[in-house]
């Protein structure tokens, strides 16, 4: 699912009429669907999230779609991709006067995975959202390359893969 216009009825519905979604993931292009797809591939729990794209939606339409999703599903957590993005602006409009809602912006796969595993049956969703934000933030790392090891420093895998089986 990539279009905001068909957002309601997405991954959060089990097909048996029982909505299990706990959060909305909203973002540019197909990023929300991609993030949820990654969660589904890793955990099989894509149903925790409702993906929503802002593609071709005006600010008013995006806010309306997001509001409808919140009201029809009862989810209280919204993840967005970009702090400066229109999804974040729309979500922040929803948060006004709604202290029960929580927004996490700058979401990534690590954050969503953490929300899946540290929320259900452990923390209320709004606390799980904070935990997920910490996890997502900590997952962004810079890893520098290193010099090639000296001769003999690595196993020779050129003759059939060494000891890897």
């Amino acid at each position: 699912m990539s279009s905001g216009r068909d957002a309601a009825g997405g991954a959060g519905d089990t097909g048996a009429g029982r909505a299990v979604a706990r959060a909305i993931v909203a973002g540019h292009g197909d990023v929300a669907a991609g993030l949820v797809s990654a969660v589904a591939q890793i955990t099989g729990r894509g149903d925790v999230f409702l993906p929503l794209s802002n593609r071709e939606l005006s600010a008013d339409d995006l806010e309306r779609v997001l509001r409808d999703l919140v009201e029809t599903t009862g989810v209280r957590v919204i993840f967005t991709d970009l702090p400066a993005g229109s999804c974040t602006i729309a979500a922040r409009r929803l948060l006004r006067g709604r202290p029960d809602l929580v927004l996490v912006t700058g979401a990534n796969v690590a954050a969503l995975l953490d929300f899946v595993f540290h929320g259900e049956h452990q923390l209320p969703d709004e606390q799980a959202a904070g935990h997920a934000a910490d996890k997502g933030r900590a997952s962004v790392l810079v890893v520098a390359g290193s010099a090639a090891p000296a001769a003999g420093g690595m196993p020779d895998r050129s003759r059939g893969g060494g000891d890897a089986h």
Partner: protein
Amino acid sequence: MPIEIHRIDDRLIHGQVVVGWGQPLGIGLLVMVDDDVAASEWEQELYRMGVPPEMDVRFESVADAVRHYPDHTADPRRGMLITGDIETMERLVAGLASGTIREVNLGGVHHRAGRSQRMRYVFLTPDEELALRGMAGRGVSIVARDVPSARPVPLADVLAGRGEG
């Protein structure tokens, strides 16, 4: 320094504006012209949080924008001026001396009741079409272009439905 781009975008501050255009053009000053936002501290705070710290944002009514336009162009930073609708840009163009604004970027005028689609991201009412023609008649070049990598589409092609041919 002249304002680099005058854009009509109903999402106002969002990813395409701040990142898509702001980064490659090196925008340091963003002038949002919107009577409603200029009158609301809450709206201003909402949009201000979407702007990176290296970018200064000013919120102005049309009347203030006309009055302060020379100050904006005298600012040493590269500037972007944005309105949320065609009517506001038309009022701004009419309030300034002829030739002050030479080009207007149609960046996003999305679906709404009464509008008909001209491009993927441009929908117009008959009155909006007239307003665009009016600005063009004053010598303003109207070009549809959502992101810098997109082909600029002249108004005549937009109105003729040739924008994405």
